[in-house]
Amino acid sequence: MQPARTESGAAAGTASGWAGRSWERLHGFGPVLGLVLLCIAGTLLNSEFASLDNAMNVLTRTAFIGIIAVGMCFVIISGGIDLSVGSMAALIAGCVILLMNALAPRGWAPVAIVAAGMVFALLLGAAFGLAHGLLITRGRIEPFIVTLGTLGIFRACLTYFADGGAITLDNALADVYSPVYYASLLGVPIPVWVFAVVAIAGGVILNRTAFGRYVQAIGSNEQVARYAAVNVDHVKVWTYMLLGICVGMATLLYVPRLGSASPTTGLLWELEAIAAVIVGGTALRGGAGSIAGTVIGAVLLSVISNILNLTNIISVYLNAAVQGLVIIVVAFTQRRRP
């Protein structure tokens, strides 16, 4: 959101060149530093915090938001925004459950049904992302408006399908599906594996492919990118589709966890995902950002609430205040250079 960085940019500064550079190095570590300090605080407050079980719990639950945040990172770097991810996740979860329940009586093998549901989730996510991308590029409407609109539309559709209540997964299917969330591989829960794979893939795509470079170029200056023969619309549509697919993937992990979708599913996930990206050091105005930062941002946010759950030092009413304070303080440690 901040206008152009000061022309002098990274190399600016005077005699403070060296100080500048080490600051720059430190700067990248802002969220890491925040995370480390938080973890120390957590351990001091409750020794259970540092247990492997707790660490795995935290990482597992971070997976949803984390995966979405990786997709969101692309959208934000390209200069866009997506407010609809929470509703989108809810609607996808609802549709997937409806599909699976509908297939159940047809005599398909449960595993096949679950697989069909998973494919459907990814397809739906991609389709929604495509719709966003086209409205934004072809329709030439602000991303904020488009996704604010679909935020309402997605959630309303889910509420309608659920008739105001919840859509619940058939019990037999739930049992087949639940290992996707609850099982572990080599002691690490499946969602954490998925999260790791998504994050690494995201990092590679952003930093090691032409597409990733184009995303950054568009966010930095769309006009220059267009003149440099970048297919701007195409790339933008793909960022939204990537995000949609990430949301689909997060839903895949969400459904086996709670086995139902209701009008409150995914509420405010958009805020959490965007916050993870921004806390991770990506600028809201786009142009540059990092997947590693985003992952750390997402973990950081869930560590805060984990610590609040593990301790009992302040009124429960003030939980949100503590979260807010920590977010501001972490951001302060990695603030832009003077």
């Binding site: 022309e7 600016a12 005699a15 060296w18 090691r208 170029a217 200056n221 990118a225 023969a229 142009g287």
Partner: protein, 496 residues
């Protein structure tokens, strides 16, 4: 009214890079100084210090003999020192009048006096000869018009010392002429002017005295009348420069097939029914005044503006070009005249800028950073980009070096047809010569090159043929033997 500014051992370092090494010289009031130097010599940096935009890391400025320390540009302006930036500094969303008075609004009580500002803007716009409504948004102006607004903005400031950092880089002879009259007027009213330019003919014409810098140091000063252009160039580069323009390649093969054919191209509002063709190995120039529609013609051709054409052919095949991407696929690339707005990602590193148009080559499928860096090293050597470090952002390069980087960028994909809009904008004489050689080499290798330029000498020295546009129409195409400044101006202004 008059002001005497002097520099005493002024030094400046950006981090570990020392850019200015103790520069000292004094400016007498009421004279026009030409400030010369190669790209990256430190001219812009020194002048930014003089106008309070940068702090010196050593040394002092004196005004009328007393030392001054500017805390910002506002303090320098209070002393009457005004700088016209090499890169535009206009808020695109504001109107021309609003930009001209930004930070110096005229008020009536609490409220802005927009009528007075509009009037004031109209006055200075008339002085620089720009015929636009003061209420036009700057976003809607073309590059040359923005340059004129920058100049008008400085005029509105009532300067005692006016520093112009390459004001004519994008102007055509008409506007330049007008600017010179204006400078003469200012001078006669006692204003000191520092004029930075790489166009030595202009320096020779308008300045009283020339100051030369090299590698962040003061090298020489002398009365303009005592120096020839050749001598100025030699002082800048510190060695003997031979002839500026490379010898023209004798003649294009008459029967070589046209590589780019354009028939009846119309860009509504900008260019009407333009047809031309460029053969392989040919350099075609485009001349015209500001507003002739040359830039927009080619932006239309590239699909950046709405346009229609009967036929666009590349290498004999009819092609549809809906975007620069299509064009690049057919081997056509375009260098924009608007370096900062359309040419470079100034927040990106040099590598990322250089390879952006040719990423496919480095992505297999993963980008090979090493290969990219090697490409940068090669480009730095080939285009003579002068920089302290290869990891600088584009925004930290000097203006001329940014231009070289932009040129290197559009040539990266090895196009068959390349359109260069003001290719030597802000480039120093030595590097200009290298670029001319390069363009010739491109042509010799079978490329078609289109050069849009405001420098007539450049077109005459470089091109096989020159097309002249006026008011969006192609007036004529002059062959090499008909190329003279007079002929070009006559066709461009419609007075032939």
């Amino acid at each position: 009214m008059t002001i005497a500014l002097s520099f005493h051992d002024v030094a400046k370092a950006f981090g570990p890079v020392q850019v200015l090494h103790g520069v000292s010289f004094a400016l007498q009031p009421g004279r026009i100084y030409g400030l010369l130097g190669e790209n990256g010599a430190g001219k812009s940096t020194l002048m930014k210090i003089a106008a309070g935009y940068e702090m010196p890391s050593g040394g002092e400025l004196h005004i009328d003999g007393r030392p001054v320390h500017f805390s910002g540009s506002r303090a320098a302006e209070a002393e009457g020192i005004v700088l016209i930036h090499q890169e535009f500094n206009l808020a695109e969303d504001l109107t021309v009048a609003q930009n001209i008075f930004l930070g110096h609004e005229k008020k009536r009580g609490w409220l802005l006096d927009d009528a007075a500002m509009r009037e004031g803007a109209a006055v200075v716009l008339r002085q620089v000869g720009l015929d636009v409504d003061p209420d036009t948004k700057v976003r809607q102006l073309i590059v040359a018009e923005k340059q004129l607004v920058e100049i008008a903005k400085a005029l509105a400031r009532k300067a005692r010392l006016l520093i112009m950092d390459e004001p004519t880089a994008t102007l055509t002879p008409g506007e330049t002429e007008r600017l010179f009259q204006l400078m003469a007027q200012l001078k006669s009213s006692g204003v000191t002017i520092v004029y930075i330019s790489h166009k030595l003919d202009e320096v020779e014409r308008i300045t009283d005295e020339v100051i030369v810098m090299r590698d962040g140091r003061f090298v020489a000063r002398d009365a303009t009348a005592k120096l020839s252009r050749q001598q100025m160039a030699n002082l800048m580069v510190g060695r003997e420069l031979s002839d500026l323009f490379p010898p023209k390649r004798s003649i294009v093969l008459a029967d070589s097939a046209p590589l780019l054919e354009v028939q009846h191209l119309t860009v509504p509002g900008w260019a009407e029914d333009v047809s031309f063709e460029v053969r392989a190995g040919e350099i075609l120039g485009f001349a015209g005044l500001v507003g002739a529609g040359r830039t927009e013609l080619f932006e239309g051709l590239l699909g950046l503006r709405p346009h229609r054409a009967e036929r666009v052919g590349i290498a004999g095949r009819a092609v549809h070009i809906g975007s620069p991407r299509d064009a690049a696929r057919h081997g056509l690339t375009y260098l924009s005249e608007d370096r900062k707005g359309k040419g470079l990602h100034i927040a990106f590193g040099m590598t990322e800028n250089l390879t952006l148009m040719d990423l496919a080559r480095y992505a297999r499928p993963w980008l090979r950073r090493g290969a990219e860096r090697a490409a940068l090293k090669a480009a730095v050597a080939e285009f003579g980009i002068r920089t302290g470090s290869l990891s600088l952002r584009a925004s930290s390069l000097s203006g001329g070096n940014q231009q070289k980087l932009a040129l290197a960028k559009v040539l990266q994909p090895q196009p068959r047809v390349v359109v260069l809009d003001e290719p030597t904008r802000g480039v120093d004489v030595g590097a200009k010569r290298d670029i001319y050689f390069l363009i010739h080499k491109l042509a010799a290798d079978g490329c078609s090159v289109v050069v849009i330029s405001s420098e007539l000498m450049e077109l005459i020295g470089l091109c096989h043929r020159v097309a002249v546009m006026r008011n969006g129409r192609l007036q004529t195409t002059l062959a090499a033997d008909q190329l003279t400044e007079e002929a070009l101006i006559a066709h461009a202004t419609g007075t032939h």
